[in-house]
């Protein structure tokens, strides 16, 4: 085999690996933001405590702001401010971890707040369940397809 042919094969392999990694990173970042978007916020503790990590699980404790619930009524302006504060903390962590992902390693997006499962499957009296992880997981194949097409379209 000629050296030129082997070089082309090598370049092709590198290109595929680079693109696969890019799709993996973008998909993991996107699904993390989708879970975050669906996470309910009062203080923002649950939202800010999502922990993106690789190659092993990690914990992150975020201290939220004042409760948005006052006498059974939710103050959306407080919730909105708490959401923004939590996302200011979480967003850069998602970006940093997903930017360093390699396709051989798993990506974790975990939450160790005690009522995380309550929010996912039960919710509370006035809310019902949020299914933030389940609903985002159902969107996974569409997310990967979208980024694969986007990255592949560059030619």
């Amino acid at each position: 085999m000629s050296k030129e042919f082997l070089n082309k094969i090598r370049q092709f392999r590198h290109k595929i690996e680079r693109r696969t990694t890019e799709v993996y990173r973008k998909s993991c970042a996107d699904v993390s933001y989708r879970i975050a978007d669906k996470t309910p916020v009062s203080k923002g503790t649950l939202l800010g405590s999502w922990s993106p990590s690789t190659p092993s699980r990690s914990r992150y404790n975020f201290e939220g702001g004042p409760s948005a619930w006052k006498k059974g009524i939710k103050d959306e302006s407080i919730a909105s401010a708490n959401r923004a504060r939590a996302m200011n903390d979480l967003g850069p962590r998602i970006e940093a971890v997903t930017a360093s992902l390699i396709k051989e390693n798993p990506y974790y997006f975990t939450n160790s707040v005690s009522y995380a499962r309550q929010a996912e499957y039960e919710g509370w009296n006035k809310t019902g369940p949020y299914y933030m992880v389940l609903r985002s997981k159902q969107e996974w194949y569409a997310i990967v397809n979208r980024f694969a097409k986007e990255v592949g379209a560059r030619g």
């Binding site: 009522y115 499962r117 159902q138």
Partner: protein, 139 residues
């Protein structure tokens, strides 16, 4: 044509075929279980519909998860709760086909499995079961 009534109906009917079912709260149904009652709650969590194939008249791919949560009795052995988990997973085992011929719709079960249990706000230990389904629905 929306088909969520038929899909939810078929999944609910399949669960209802089990004998001696415990108390069961369907969506938007209020129940008052006693403290020594094991009970179930169900909810349809449908995914976004997709049209994966080319063409204007191709079927729509509908998928989603039918969530059955088993609420155990406080202090009673885990085994009693998992008996119901096993019965429900078996009832919806992979490859199960649910058909409503009058509506021309078939729902297929992709897989059914319990996820990790947890204590809910009301003190009950809850084991959710994910039942993943899909269906091709005419436009």
């Amino acid at each position: 044509m929306a088909n969520y009534t038929e899909i939810n109906g078929l999944l609910n009917e399949r669960l209802a075929e089990l004998s001696n079912l415990p108390m069961w709260g369907r969506e938007n149904q209020y129940i008052e279980p006693e403290s020594d009652d094991l009970y179930l709650r169900t909810q349809l969590v449908s995914a976004e519909a997709e049209n994966p194939f080319l063409g204007a008249n191709v079927p729509t791919y509908e998928s989603g998860t039918f969530v059955v949560s088993v609420y155990l009795v406080d202090g009673r052995s885990w085994g009693y709760g998992y008996e119901w988990v096993d019965k429900i997973v078996e009832q919806f085992k992979r490859g199960t086909t649910l058909t409503n011929s009058s509506e021309d719709i078939t729902v297929r079960i992709r897989k059914a499995y319990p996820v990790a249990g947890f204590y809910g706000d009301n003190g009950r230990y809850i084991i959710p079961i994910h039942i993943e389904y899909f269906s091709y629905v005419d436009i």
